[in-house]
């Protein structure tokens, strides 16, 4: 649609700019807050111009953390978050692409039962099954481990359905051509299906990475040992100090750092991400 109506253009841009401002302002405030020293907040007002303690604040948080509220260094927490987010994203993509492959391309006994069981997990996100899941994880001795942190979040079906839809759009003739070309099931999967789903995998990776990175409730439950804390739950921990002023500069620095990896993932995978969401040509 190519239209040229200047008034409408101006209006559209105004709305968009306003939207961007509304979204960006809190982030700006957070960043500015993280550049000040701890004393600048005593007035009760958050300053709107940059301060001079940026380097110091970030270095402290990254290397030593905040011992008073039991915060290990952010570098450790970020590593934990990264491990969690990557494991969840890669794990979820792997199991769901494999199960979608089985469901779409193979006839096996209880196939529709398997399909429905996977479907049911859609209705059971972690929050719903949190108590029984916690019990299982605890009984298996997986509290305070990366396995306990990630495996319960990997097991669910959302992505299976996405890949099922993708596979259903791939014409049968392609599979038949591959069979005649001597590609067995494994070869067909690696050589044809996987490359053809590349964009969808990328799009899903972005979504799942952010999903994993932003996990709050589950890590809060299964980690008691500081060495397995993740950064998102850490922020909350810092804001909850009992009998002292929250140290906003440190909290905001943590928030900014917590935001960074998802933003980077989006920026670097944007092209593939958009392609994966809109591309239809097969």
């Amino acid at each position: 649609m190519v239209e040229n109506r200047p008034l409408l253009n101006i209006l559209a841009h105004l709305v968009l700019i306003l939207g961007v401002l509304i979204v960006a302002f809190p982030i700006y405030v957070a960043f500015i807050a993280s550049t000040h020293g701890p004393t600048d907040f005593l007035s009760g007002l958050i300053p709107l111009t940059p301060g001079h303690d940026t380097w110091h604040t970030y270095m402290t948080m990254l290397t030593t953390g905040m011992q008073s509220s039991g915060m290990p260094p952010l570098s450790l927490q970020m590593t934990n978050s990264l491990i969690m987010a990557l494991t969840i994203a890669i794990g979820k993509i792997s199991i769901s692409i494999i199960s979608a492959y089985a469901i779409v391309y193979f006839r096996f006994p209880f196939r529709s039962l398997a399909f429905w069981l996977i479907f049911i997990t859609l209705m059971l996100p972690v929050e719903v099954r949190i108590l029984p899941t916690y019990k299982v994880v605890a009984d298996l001795g997986m509290l305070d481990t990366y396995a306990g942190l990630t495996i319960p979040l990997i097991a669910s079906a959302t992505a299976t359905f996405l890949f099922r839809q993708v596979f259903l759009t791939i014409p049968d003739e392609l599979m038949e051509a591959a069979r005649i070309d001597g590609a067995g099931p494994m070869k067909f999967f690696w050589d044809i299906l996987l490359p053809m789903s590349r964009n969808n995998i990328a799009a899903l990776f972005v979504i799942l990475f952010i999903y994993g990175w932003n996990q709050y409730l589950w890590p809060l439950l299964v980690t008691t040992d500081a060495s397995h804390y993740t950064i998102v739950m850490g922020i909350k921990r810092m804001a909850d100090v009992a009998d002292a002023q929250p140290q906003w500069n440190y909290i905001m620095a943590t928030a900014i750092l917590a935001m960074l990896p998802p933003v980077l993932v989006v920026i670097f995978m944007q092209k593939l991400f958009v392609k994966g969401l809109i591309e239809t040509e097969k």
Partner: protein, 349 residues
């Protein structure tokens, strides 16, 4: 290269649909056989059974002297060209051609020799490094054929390979396929519902109807001596006229005229006359029947006159300068009339 033999081959789908009934067919080494028939007659099913993409529920299929009923498609030494090309969209043309050879662990040098040779034959050398999406329909179809010929298989199987192309390109590709097959001498089975494509390509035509063979023969045999009214109506364009008539001692009476048949039948018959096998005659001519004209189609070189004979539809092709009134008196060319049994539709004589 090999002969292909079907012995009492049948197919019943899982749901109980019987798509193919007990077909016997011996295809010789190097022969170009076209399976032709209306939609749903089981052509694709039969071809896919030969390819190994569909299980054979009855009978035996052999390629060369090997029974292949239980053999995987890749091991049957066949190559198939699909209607919508089925090229791998993420691979370049070169990779598409090479994929089947790579899976067979062929040496790199041999693969690139064959790919280059096929590219040269099909004139697709210029876009070996493009992806299929950057090709036109005709170019894609060439690549699909390239993928078949690099394999140097015992047989080519084509399933309506030209039906996605526009009319002009279809005619051109038809010619190319014919030349290519003649040049390579590879046994080929070609499925189409287009009778013109079937006539022009085939060494031998197999006309299918409802999962059964109606007739097997060279295009001319099938055209000149259709075995049934089904074949008569299906092969040839414009289609043969079929008239219900009464016969007496081998002469059919219709529209006030008398048409001699090849067989000495008496009683009801179906009379078949091709539109180009009649010519106008004067009113008093011995045996002439009357066509009441409804409308005329000008085709340039000739005109197609549609009307009715005794209330039954009839068309005839006349020179474009023929003068027309309300009605025409027509006589058949000698020996051109076909007689079919009025009940079974089978050819008489």
């Amino acid at each position: 290269m090999a002969a292909i033999t079907l012995e009492a081959v049948g197919k019943t789908y899982a749901g109980g649909v019987k798509a193919v009934h007990s077909i016997d067919l011996a295809i010789q080494d190097g022969e170009f056989v076209v399976l032709v028939g209306p939609s749903g007659c089981g052509k694709s099913t039969l071809l896919r059974m030969v390819a190994g993409l569909e299980s054979v529920t009855e009978g035996k299929i052999s390629i060369g002297d090997r029974m292949v009923n239980e053999v995987e498609p890749a091991e049957r030494d066949i190559a198939m060209v699909f209607q919508n090309y089925a090229l791998y969209p993420h691979m370049t043309v070169r990779q598409n051609l090479a994929y089947g050879l790579k899976n067979r662990k062929m040496a790199k040098a041999e693969i690139s020799r064959r790919v280059d040779e096929a590219a040269q034959i099909l004139e697709i050398g210029a876009f070996l490094d493009r992806k299929p999406r950057a090709l036109s329909g005709g170019q894609r179809q060439r690549v699909a054929m390239g993928r078949a010929i690099v394999r140097e298989p015992a047989a080519f199987l084509f399933d309506e390979p030209l039906s996605n192309l526009d009319a002009k390109l279809r005619v051109q590709m038809r010619g190319e396929i014919k030349q290519l097959q003649a040049r390579l001498g590879t046994t080929s089975i070609y499925v189409t519902h287009d009778q013109l494509e079937a006539m022009t390509l085939a060494h031998r035509l197999v006309v299918l109807n409802g999962g059964q063979i109606e007739q097997v023969g060279t295009p001319l045999e099938v055209y000149r001596k259709p075995a049934s009214t089904f074949v008569a109506a299906f092969i040839g364009s414009p289609a043969m006229n079929l008239l219900n008539a009464k016969a007496e001692g081998g002469v059919a009476h219709v529209g006030g005229g008398r048409v001699p048949l090849a067989a000495a039948v008496t009683g009801p018959v179906t009379l078949g006359l091709r539109p180009e096998d009649v010519r106008p005659a004067d009113a008093g001519t011995e045996g002439a029947f009357v066509l009441k004209i409804a409308y005329v189609e000008e085709l340039g070189a000739q005109k197609l006159v549609h009307g009715t004979v005794e209330g039954q539809n009839f068309a005839c092709a006349l020179p474009s300068d023929a003068a027309l009134g309300q009605a025409l008196h027509l006589v058949p060319e000698p020996g051109a009339a076909h007689g079919f049994d009025a009940q079974t539709g089978k050819r008489l004589g």
